[in-house]
């Protein structure tokens, strides 16, 4: 009796999810878009901040440290609040976004998520720099390389291997952090979940499992990609 009931509920849940596949996939796509764009930006900013923090110019070191100290120690929700509420208040509204069909709130979310994540990227990269023996950079400088060349041609390629594992964890954390964007008017996976729970509370378990699986697939893809990259790098030396 109970078994049959459960089975009935399960098939009912599956049926329900199948009906909701449209919103589900658009939510998943929202999370993917946000994570990919923010991830790329966070990596670029993180690289710059990491380079600033080992730069020979004291002012750049101070600026890099300040950036990390500020964004790393601010709760992500507050960073989102600052970009989504404060930026428009001071007149920054990204009017051009509409023209290319991008939601302004998406841009605010990208800025919040990438600035916040960039601090962690910077620290992961910096720990990679530290793992490269000092003599490597000294030899590069002795040959006449500039600071930028030393970093790009000698230190960074060797740091990459030890940077990959912490970077992978960080991108995974970022995907999950992207859920906060829901509260700032961005259509993504957690938004899908909340909408469904509100409209169809009877399918709570199915909705929950679907969203969980959605996130797990994304994070597994990231760790898979990074494992592959790590193995590649291990072979080539």
């Amino acid at each position: 009796m109970v078994l049959a009931e459960t089975a009935g509920a399960a098939t009912g849940g599956l049926e329900f999810l199948w009906q909701q596949r449209g919103p589900f996939f658009s939510g998943l796509l929202g999370t993917v878009e946000l994570s990919v764009v923010a991830g790329i930006l966070a990596t670029i900013i993180g690289l710059i901040v990491a380079a600033m923090r080992v730069s020979p110019i004291p002012a750049l070191r101070v600026a890099g440290t300040a950036w990390s100290g500020f964004f790393r120690n601010t709760p992500l929700t507050l960073v989102f609040l600052a970009t989504s509420v404060v930026l428009p208040l001071v007149g920054i509204r990204f009017a051009w976004a509409d023209a290319i069909g991008v939601d302004t709130f998406f841009i605010f979310a990208v800025i919040a998520l990438s600035t916040y994540t960039s601090c962690f990227v910077a620290d992961a990269i910096r720990s990679g720099f530290n793992a490269v023996p000092v003599g490597q950079a000294e030899a590069a400088r002795a040959v006449g390389m500039t600071f930028g060349q030393t970093l790009r041609l000698v230190v960074l390629p060797q740091a990459l291997r030890s940077v990959l594992p912490p970077l992978a964890s960080m991108y995974i954390a970022m995907i999950k952090n992207s859920a906060i964007a829901e509260f700032f008017n961005v259509g993504e996976l957690t938004r899908f979940f909340d909408d469904q729970v509100r409209d169809h509370p009877e399918h709570l378990y199915a909705e929950f499992i679907a969203v969980a699986v959605g996130y797990i697939v994304l994070t597994l893809l990231v760790s898979g990609a990074f494992n592959l990259a790590e193995r590649r790098l291990a072979v080539s030396r």
Binding site: A139, M145, P157
Partner: protein, 263 residues
Amino acid sequence: MDTQTEATTPEPTEPPTAGEPLVVLDGVNKWFGPLHVLQDINLTVHTGEVVVVIGPSGSGKSTLCRAINRLEPIDQGTITVDGSVLPEEGKALARLRSEVGMVFQSFNLFAHKTILENVTLGPVKVRREKSDLVRERAMGLLERVGVANQAEKYPAQLSGGQQQRVAIARALAMQPKVMLFDEPTSALDPEMINEVLDVMTSLAREGMTMIVVTHEMGFARRAANRVVFMADGQIVEQATPDEFFTNPQSERARDFLSKILTH
């Protein structure tokens, strides 16, 4: 005091190969915290001269060597290389460093590059020379130091002696005006020391200007024009190898020599 002809230490007889002053240290001082590692150093190295710097460990000789291409910044005084004072950190310093070859105690070959790439990287990236021309020159240099057959390997696959010879080739590829050697054989197994010293001796014979920090007294006797003896951050005495080894003037030098020559 401000001209290099007026050295504070007794000037040795000029080496026969002496040319123009190439590297000039004038009143150089450096501190590591409270430790005064370089104390009012005045030293002039002329074109074509081979100067060997010896002294007990902690005497500041490595710091002296590293200060010449500003891997160690100095606190007071000036260092001049081929007429120009060492600039602050930046593009000008990078350019000057490209003209000063450096060989390290621990080789410091680029671990992620092949032997050939180690030698070509500087000329191609720093001097923007054509890569096929550089490649040819690099193979010639590897040939000369006897590791051409290892060109496609990675540094970790070579012995210490081979790595150090590649490091010399890497420095030579930049066609430097002067070569600095910072204890180039100290990290080597005994049987590999000679293969490196042989390369250095032949360089010296060809007229390369060299500043060599080393414990190899045999090399100093064979190849040096001048021996500079340092202790406690000071240049205690300098003389031709013959004079220095047979008739050291200072108590510190006699003491040092007696310790290394009796073992």
